[in-house]
């Protein structure tokens, strides 16, 4: 099951080059950065390396589709988009246990964030 940032179950047009979540920054190649679609594999939801890798890819200027693939739970949906992913892909077994509604209702449970907007809201003129 594919879910994009808008909550729509529409897969990317292009197939993804899959990346292991343990990929080091120095191992990111030009080919990867030019690919239309990358997918970072999450071997376990407790392994948060994919969030850092996504952030680093975007920082290096990656503009293509970026999918968080594998073992994720709905409670990580927001974090995925903040890291720079634009879609989550989970397998059928996981999707039957955690269907689309759970993913959508897990979003935006926290209206603001300390890392994103609270300091600005407090101080912006």
């Amino acid at each position: 099951m594919f879910i994009n940032q808008q909550g729509i179950m529409k897969p990317h047009q292009e197939t993804a080059i899959e990346l292991v979540n343990s990929l080091k920054q120095a191992e990111i190649t030009k080919k990867m950065l030019n690919a239309p679609h990358l997918a970072i594999v999450f071997p376990a939801f407790s392994d948060g390396r994919g969030f850092t890798l996504a952030k680093r890819l975007r920082r290096l200027g990656y503009k293509g589709g970026l999918t968080a693939k594998g073992a994720l739970i709905p409670d990580q949906f927001d974090a995925a988009f903040i890291a720079g992913f634009d879609a989550v892909e989970i397998d059928e077994a996981r999707a039957s246990r955690q269907p689309l509604e759970q993913w959508l209702s897990a979003r935006n449970l926290l209206k603001h964030s300390y890392q994103d907007d609270i300091f600005a809201l407090r101080h912006k003129e």
Binding site: S46, R59, Q102, L109, L110, H112, S113, R122
Partner: protein, 544 residues
């Protein structure tokens, strides 16, 4: 102390809603226990031997009477009428039920408290010197930094699924009363050419492989704290080991990679990261700082404390800490009564302390990592009245930093990780020494851990006791020479394991050896450092 604004309040409320939803998804099976586990841990909910345990956060160990009264209320309503103050300045309830967690978290939110990230592989409670704001030797109140980091680290989207837990501690003085050298990140506020910044230490930790932290930055300008911390966290998140739970802390990464290379990785990441997100940091820091100004203290003459009551005199001598304002002290309330359970307080005792704080300490209480409570702003003139109240409630033990001021983890009586009981050991040692003997011995820190996870911090105690299991029996190892101050040191194993019954007299023998070797005003630790372990090994002679 810090007071929530609308954003802080909204955050803790939304978190409770989120947690209630997580609990219901667990009950339907939508979340497996394995998936639920880190989510409940990030709300401080542990599954222990007898029941669930809730660890509520007391950020940098500071709270007011309203909050302490609520903690007492929770103890009465949802626990067995008591709570346990921990070595990281939090409070634990050992007898709560999962079905009540949402209600308890709501009660905490009602008084601007929470149990967020007190467990789990995320950034934990940022601890600080329990004499912050009071101590003469402070460059700046470390709690401003701690609150700043608390907010930044709360629900951090990138750093909530780390290889392992992450603990940060801050000291405002060179004297380290926050054990920063044994934390994943230790921060010391320093002044360079009139500018305040941080000495940043990384890779300390206790547990199974105790290590003292190492400096990655001698001076970090204050307004660079959050982006620099982000760099450290990113390197750890990406590079920390995930193959072995016992090798997953940043201390292992530093040890295996080398401090030079780790520093290079951090500085490289720091140079590359986007600092735009931090443009409001200075303003936010200044906003938080306004909450930590000294309360309106009176201008009193400097004077010595005098009384005709010898017990009260002793109490003040032993339990007071000098306050930067003349005529005031910070007063420690010992939660180590003779033969008692270290760090435990009944709901009634919590209420008593709350009342005293409101009347005599500008409504402020501190929790120390030594598992004691502190009234930080007490007039010497009020000490007698306070003492009278404390005495009535078993809170007047005059033993701070003495041999019966023992730090102990909950141990096998409560904890599913433990290999031995720790509480009965603390009790038996506490009962071994009379007040007179205790006074004679002077400063001596004994810490007891009920397993190699070392939650009792025994590695940095003058005498550390580690409870293991050997052939089905509890066996206690002794380490000597640990130091949790800025002269941080890991204690060294003295000899073979001992049975529980042998410990009190063994400790007595160690004390006897110290007294025999002591020169001048040396503390136990000083004598040990001077003469080494050899004389103390004689304590094993004739052990039966």
């Amino acid at each position: 102390m810090y007071s929530y604004d609308q954003f802080d309040k909204q955050m803790v409320r939304e978190r409770v809603t989120q947690f209630r939803d997580q609990v219901s998804r667990r009950l339907t099976g939508a979340l497996t226990e394995e998936e639920f586990r880190p989510l409940r841990l990030m709300n401080g909910v542990y599954l222990q031997l007898h029941a669930y345990m809730l660890r509520a956060a007391i950020p940098y160990g500071t709270l007011n009477s309203t909050q302490m009264n609520q903690l007492a209320h929770i103890a009465d309503k949802f626990d067995k009428g008591y709570g346990h103050f921990t070595t990281r300045q939090n409070i634990q309830y050992n007898w709560v039920q999962l079905k009540d967690m949402g209600d308890i978290l709501d009660l905490l939110a009602d008084v601007e408290m929470h149990a967020i990230q007190t467990s789990g592989n995320c950034i934990r409670n940022v601890t600080a010197d329990h004499f912050a704001g009071v101590a003469h030797d402070e460059v700046e109140d470390p709690r401003i930094t701690a609150e700043f980091l608390r907010q930044w680290s709360t629900f951090h989207p990138e750093f909530s699924f780390l290889p392992r837990k992450f603990k940060i501690a801050v000291t405002g003085a060179k004297a380290d009363r926050a054990v920063i050298m044994a934390h994943d990140i230790g921060l010391q506020l320093v002044k360079h050419n009139g500018e305040i910044g941080y000495k940043v230490i990384v890779g300390g930790g206790l547990g199974r492989t105790p290590m003292i932290g190492q400096v990655v930055r001698e001076f970090l300008p204050k307004n660079e704290l959050l982006p620099f911390t982000e760099a450290v966290m990113r390197v750890y998140n990406a590079e920390g080991r995930r193959d072995n739970k016992y090798k997953a802390r940043i201390k292992i990464l530093v040890h295996e990679t080398g401090i030079g290379e780790i520093t290079r990785l951090i500085e490289e990441e720091y140079a590359a990261l986007d600092k735009k997100a931090y443009v409001y940091d200075s303003q936010e820091f200044a906003r938080i700082a306004t909450y930590f100004a000294l309360p309106p203290l009176e201008n009193l003459p400097q004077k010595a404390f005098t009384t005709k009551n010898p017990a009260l005199k002793r109490f003040v001598e032993v339990n007071s800490f000098p306050h930067k304002q003349a005529g005031y002290i910070a007063l420690t309330i010992s939660l180590k009564p003779q033969g008692g359970i270290p760090g435990d307080a009944t709901a009634e005792q919590m209420r008593v302390v709350a009342g005293l704080a409101k009347t005599y300490s500008h409504d402020e209480i501190r929790v120390s990592h030594n598992q004691n409570l502190i009234l930080p702003h007490v007039k010497l003139d009020d000490v007698e009245a306070i003492y009278e109240v404390l005495e009535k409630h078993g809170l007047a033990t005059a033993n701070i930093n003495l041999i019966t001021d023992i730090i102990a983890c909950p141990g096998m009586d409560y904890c599913s990780l433990a290999t031995a009981r720790s509480i009965p050991i603390a009790q038996s040692i506490s009962n071994q020494f009379s007040k007179k003997q205790e006074a004679d011995i002077g400063e001596l820190n004994i810490n007891i851990s009920g397993c190699i996870n070392a939650c009792g911090h025994h590695h940095v105690a003058h005498i550390g006791i580690l409870g293991l299991e050997k052939s089905g029996q509890e066996s206690y190892q002794i380490t000597l020479g640990g130091d949790s101050s800025e002269n941080a040191a890991i204690g060294k194993l003295l000899g073979p394991g001992l049975a529980a019954e042998q410990l009190p007299s063994f400790i007595e023998r160690l004390v006897g050896i110290y007294k025999g070797e002591k020169q001048g005003n040396e503390r136990f630790l000083d004598t040990y450092k001077r003469v080494g372990a050899a004389p103390f090994k004689k304590a094993y002679d004739n052990v039966h």
